[in-house]
Symmetry: C2
Subunit: 259 residues, 2 copies
């Protein structure tokens, strides 16, 4: 039930392991810290990481008259979360499903969850351009999603996959809000030397090439990594770090454009 959802934003990446779920959860937390009502839907059915990242593992989804009740991160209920992780009995259970079952599950997540009034619904996707992505695009056609944020790391291989993702957005007619470059440099905690482990600047170059906005460049920061599992907002815990500043600017960007 997406009738009462004002804005829908997809978070995509061509390649896995680029920090898509970290960006999705931290963006959702940033928006909820800015007093918006936010939903976060994890449609990575084979590797759901949102429950772990938000410290919500073991929580259950309940049924109400309107459908499934999402899991809320706190009593204020300003961040509602849904993931297949909440439906698995055991966290080591593997979801060994072919496409049609995945498609049915995602439709349920969009149609049968009581999302209530939301300012923003962030949808975290698995890597690639297959069943999950095609299904979510088809379901969102009627409700007019705001667009997609594409997350990438700066190495050539990841960028190649992002180009595929840009092609996918163009083919399926979804607006690209912009590209976030993640893990673009590691600052040694011992000597403060910054090394571009995965090379650098690729996201900026790609944004120019694809003529889409570059939303920011996030460094590798073990302090941000350490927030995984806590459900804490980076913008609140580490207000001065680069990651927080960029997250806030993306959130401001989204809310300025769309309010």
């Amino acid at each position: 039930m997406l009738e009462k959802v004002k804005h829908i934003i997809l978070v995509l990446s061509g390649k896995g392991g680029v920090g898509k779920s970290t960006v999705s959860t931290q963006l959702a937390l940033t928006l909820s810290e800015s007093k918006f009502k936010v939903g976060l839907l994890d449609i990575d059915l084979c590797g759901p990481s949102v429950p772990y990242l938000l410290g919500l593992e073991g929580h259950d989804v309940h049924q109400c008259e309107e459908g499934w009740v999402p899991v809320y991160t706190n009593a204020d209920k300003n961040l509602a979360v849904m993931s297949i992780g909440f439906l698995l009995k055991n966290r080591t259970d593997a979801v060994i499903w072919r496409g049609p079952k995945k498609t049915a599950m995602i439709k349920q997540f969009l149609e049968d969850v009581a999302w209530e009034d939301l300012d923003y619904l962030i949808i975290d996707t698995p890597p690639g351009t297959s069943d999950e992505h095609i299904t979510v695009m088809e379901c969102l056609k009627a409700v007019n999603a705001d667009g997609a944020i594409i997350v990438t790391t700066p190495q050539e291989m990841a960028l190649e996959d992002v180009r595929k993702e840009v092609t996918f957005c163009k083919k399926t007619g979804i607006n690209i809000i912009g590209i976030v470059e993640n893990m673009s440099g590691f600052v040694c905690p011992n000597c403060t030397e910054c090394t571009n482990i995965f090379s650098s600047g690729g996201g900026v170059a790609l944004a120019e090439l694809a003529k889409v906005p570059h939303l920011g460049t996030l460094p590798i920061d073990p302090r941000v990594g350490a927030l995984a599992g806590s459900g804490k907002a980076c913008v609140k815990e580490l207000p001065d770090c680069t990651t927080s500043k960029i997250l806030q600017s993306i959130a401001d960007n989204i809310s300025a454009e769309k309010s």
Copy 2:
């Protein structure tokens, strides 16, 4: 056509971006440096990275009487490669396919490629446990694959996905050769301090937990990363680095067990 293939090894990971394709290509190169005849099949249809990693982008697949001729890395023809990347007109083309089309393509890769005599066929898979994995397992039932190598990074989130992959192997009855822990520490090139960016030791603990062998722990090494795109074997170019030693020991392990 897998009749003349002696050993088949799958490379799996629950999560994307853990270096699965790098491990697959370098393992294939290591085995071919050890004078074995090797094949490398990339069944990641939405994000094929093997052609880029081996410096083979732009190469074409040809047709012969027996089927598709794979791409060879050199005139000695001791490393045969097949990937959907060779079939795309443009490297930015997105493969926007639902499951059944992916299944058909993978069957063709296994049945219609003229793999010829191979000592080893390494199969690089996409992240997850879905169509590609189910299909490849079903197709390999008749030919008795040797087993799977599972690649992971040490952070908790990746390990959780690996547990799903272990469940998948057990459910589908494939032997687990062992777990490789990748990117487990970064040695600062300025001060040589080693930082465990993504935490450490998870792969070892997981191998113990799942009662499967731990094959080795690969550090983050920008010199190894720089080999991407060159098609050069790490064991030949950087014989003294930790990554080479572990790759060689995995190759020795496989060939000792199976010869």
